[in-house]
């Protein structure tokens, strides 16, 4: 990941604080998930069976539309998150980023709107297990956000901890969703090797 940071940093001096590094790392996880699912979806027999937790390649072919949508969504979302972290780190150091920080934010916002629209479209094709899983993931994410916001906000308010950096709020949101996806899938036995 640090090699990636150096790559996007180039020759300029960037201020990679803990907050921007964590956000970049979370974006990288999303992007890598998109890449792996995408490769598995494009070549189910060659790579998909080994990369993804499925019974056989035919299962990927059956779920190709949903998996391809998820792969593209994760890749674009991860890239937008990394772009925001990169732009914020550059801005903090007074360097020039790939895009201006404000533009990085608007890109992330546009991607979020697209991601939401994609989720609605995919919801229509979900069967009852996937709909239940989506509801559970949303609940886990919401509860994690509540917990972190109340504890960190409360502790910061009384001087027991430093307040969150704005990037931390973005990291908490995307990190909670990421954790919830793995926790929800694990709870339903989808992480067990098949």
């Amino acid at each position: 990941m640090f090699a990636g940071l150096q790559l996007v940093e180039g020759q300029g001096g960037f201020d990679w604080t803990g907050s921007s590094v964590i956000l970049f790392g979370i974006g990288l996880v999303y992007a890598l998930m998109g890449v792996f699912v995408g490769i598995g979806t494009v070549a189910p027999r060659l790579f998909g069976q080994r990369l993804l937790n499925v019974a056989d390649a035919e299962e990927i072919v059956e779920e190709r539309a949903n998996m391809a949508g998820s792969a593209v969504g994760c890749l674009i979302l991860g890239a937008a998150v990394m772009l925001l972290a990169h732009a914020a780190a550059a801005d903090a150091a007074g360097s020039t980023a790939l895009v201006a920080p404000a533009l990085a934010f608007w890109i992330l916002l546009a991607v979020l709107v697209g991601f939401t629209a994609l989720s609605v479209l995919m919801w229509r094709g979900f069967d009852e297990l996937w709909r239940q899983l989506t509801v559970e993931i949303s609940a886990i994410t919401g509860n994690l956000l509540l917990l972190v916001a109340i504890i960190w906000g409360g502790a910061a308010a009384v001087g027991l901890a430093a307040g969150p950096h704005p990037l931390d709020l973005v990291s908490i949101a995307f990190g909670s969703l990421l954790f919830a996806c793995f926790a929800g899938a694990g709870w339903r036995g989808m992480m067990a090797p098949r």
Binding site: A55, E62, E128, L129, W187, R188, G189, M190, R194
Partner: protein, 68 residues
């Protein structure tokens, strides 16, 4: 909830994919039901039982007993 879906599916000679196709759900759903990770909705349980020509209680085993 315990169930005998795998037993009856295998007796019918169907793969998980074949049963999923007949019920109009994903393979993951069949796998999750068979491994007791997911209790299907009442409509899906009724369809499953109907497909195997069984009563729901023959396919899904509930150990609950009414309190006196």
């Amino acid at each position: 909830m315990e169930n005998r879906v795998r037993e009856f599916r295998e007796a019918a000679g169907w793969s998980q994919g074949e049963l999923a196709r007949r019920l109009g759900v994903s393979r993951q759903t069949i796998n999750a039901v068979e491994t007791d990770k997911y209790d299907p909705s009442l409509p899906l349980a009724l369809r499953m039982a109907g497909l195997f020509a069984l009563e729901v209680r023959q396919l899904f085993i509930d150990h609950w007993t009414a309190k006196e």
